[in-house]
Symmetry: C4
Subunit: 254 residues, 4 copies
């Protein structure tokens, strides 16, 4: 498992750096995750408060479905017993650390990229877990781009952004024609993560074919069968949102 | 032939990476090709579903005028006989593999950039071949930029975009003055590649001086005597389309 | 102290290069500083007239609270006595050089990045000192972005830009919800640095929760507990100003 | 002289690559020059038709005031006599090659960056010489940016773009306050280089304080005491033109 985790962590930081360079993860915003194990669920996820342009693999955290950190060191030391745990019936939450105390007044603790331990998983980890459980993808990426923010704002009343007729839509998994109509629901933003995770569950159930959703004035969530596909979905959706925004500006006026 | 192909493949990935960095090939969109041999026609082309920012030379495919892959390995093993084939009368389609089966539900097979074989040539290969046959260039590049998408949309009714009076036009082959008027036809997008190739043939015949065309809500196709010129045409046309779009926005209002 | 200064200087140029690449420090504009010592105050600051994309650590200057250069060479030679100065009661201004003569006709002396001595601290050093004294941060960054310039212009009459309801606001120190309303005051630009420093003092006192201010048609000033946080604030505020500007354009018209 | 020329050539390609990366020299557009000798005038200049993102120092040409190439090889072989020429009275045009024949149907000869000789100096060399003679700078840079193109178009009727009240103006040589009003004249574009050079002379005489001018629907010309200052002027003017363009869009509507 550790080798796989190391590879996934390395891929996560590589994708994160690229998206930061494009301006879609500025100011420690956004987060990325990828499934490490399905049964029981464990995922690699970016830490809270980290500069995505300077992320190191050692900062990537392994969490369980309750968003509790799984101690990599323990895993390594107990390598043998860990294998026995996986093979046997004991619950892997025995390997789980207490979650680090959240400080509501300081949502961006100054971890410093050099000061690697102990990191805290992204505050939005429950949203990643909700998506993983509802849709079963291999990776989830959440970006904060200017155009996603603009579109989530100017289309609030419609409750979503409809994108139809663009070839770029074919880059979304399972879409085979530009005639496809993608409805990207807009969900009201909230700081209550369990409540937001519930709303996301409902929206995903309501729009079973959606490849993504927007949190209002917040950003884009999308996912894919693996990190590669999730990254492709980010590029496609950010492109389409920018195009939709610019077309809107180009035909403004009475 | 193999050496030439290797050089061309290397140039293709270098140009692809640069255009991806500018945001003109996001999300595995777009494709590039360059002629390897004229008689009979063979061309190097980017594979379907590949991330253009991480393309490896080994992913570039060699296809014939029917868009069938020509097996490089066979070519190398049969190096001697291949030369004899070229020299003699036997048809090189003997060297052609069966095209890989298309899966209509999955237009972006997860090739993985590391998992190099067997790649599938771009779905739009017939469009490249159509342009090569109609105009005889040495290279064809198809980009998906935001501004090309916007312009192809807001100028649909006119059937094209007219660009006139810009110095940048002189970067198009054969144009010697900014007074030149370039008409970039807009062709309705389609998933029926043979039909689309036919339409492209008609449009190229109708506008014999056009250096490019737009597929509506899809992207830009342009070409050049060699890959260098095709890349120059991309930069010039993307620049002009962005300028046209921004001028339109700058004078909007009543 | 020298080691610390060297580390800080290295961090300053690294951050400066990144912000220059994003187009927020074009044409030698902008400046960055970080506190080296608190008691008495000394800070590392970028020199006047330097290209921030090609800045070398050796160009970073150490100044005191009067914006006078502290001679690094003297500090090194008098290492022993310097320690005695710090330990004892004598005022470190004994170590201070005469400020270099300003040439009002040439505010961007051709230092040349290779011609490292003697550099002149940024003309806006008094503004950095004013912020450091009023708010006590560890670092101050001043950028010149297109969107900050545009917003400071179109919102002049309101006296500031209100940004409310965006998740990105949580990246500002101490902000824990997107419901936060950030008021970014706009201060009239001036070439009279002592007068401008006074106005800044007044504005910072008037808006004790502000994380930043705009100089009209000039740029953004923000700060943080350390350089890392100041850089995060720059990315967040530049993002929010761009988003605010684009939303304004997207809903323009009657 | 050769060493100096080599250094200047190296600086020219470094600046050219940076400006190409920002999208201001796309598609082989634009050109850069720097003075090598004043008496008689010789300048290093970029070749016609070269991709500025892949320029090699060996492609930079040395020309005289008549835009004739000075043979570097001859200069090196005749090193001794060349010094005597400079010291003595014989005219250095003895060292000048015949200009390469222009092909009006192909203003962008496929030099290929690898195929370095014989390059042809930029078609706009006479404009560089005109500026050098009228103003005496050490370097001239001509960029093609989208915003310069847009502004030169929408302000045609006014005959120029007025930029006033921006701090960024202080980056222009000799400007010490943001209250400065910079008038950037717009000159009608032409393919008649001698005529255009004459018009430029008249405009430079009419606006003795101008730091730059725009060729309509073509691009920006600016200059500086050295290449460093010319590059700074490019960054400042491109920034100001973009800001002016975005402000215009932000306040559009009735």
């Amino acid at each position: 498992m550790s080798d796989t985790f190391a590879q996934i962590a390395s891929s996560l930081i590589s994708v994160a750096r690229g998206l930061h360079a494009r301006g879609w993860l500025l100011g420690t915003s956004g987060n990325l995750s990828a499934v490490v194990d399905r049964q029981p669920l464990s995922l690699a996820i970016t830490p809270s408060g980290a500069d995505k342009g300077e992320l190191a693999a050692a900062q990537i955290l392994l969490i369980d479905e309750h968003c509790k950190c799984i101690d990599q060191a323990t895993l390594k030391l107990d390598n043998e017993s860990a294998r026995r745990v996986t093979a046997g019936a004991s619950h892997p939450s025995q390997l789980v650390q207490e979650d680090l105390q959240l400080d509501p007044d300081d949502p961006q603790p100054e971890l410093g990229n050099a000061q690697l331990v102990p990191g805290k998983p992204s505050d939005e980890s429950p949203l990643h877990v909700a998506i993983l459980k509802a849709r079963g993808p291999g990776a989830v990426i959440h970006t904060h781009s200017v155009w996603a923010t603009v579109l989530s704002d100017v289309h609030t009343l419609e409750g979503g952004v409809a994108i139809e007729g663009y070839e770029m839509l074919k880059g979304l998994h399972g879409v085979s024609t530009h005639l496809h109509r993608e409805w990207i629901p807009i969900i009201d933003n909230s700081q209550d993560m369990p409540a937001l995770a519930n709303t996301i569950n409902e929206v995903l159930a309501q729009y079973p074919f959606a490849h993504a959703f927007l949190l209002r004035r917040h950003g884009l969530y999308t996912w894919g069968r693996d990190l590669k596909e999730a990254k492709r979905h980010v590029e496609i959706l950010e492109f389409l949102l920018e195009a939709a925004g610019r077309i809107r500006s180009s035909i403004c006026g009475p």
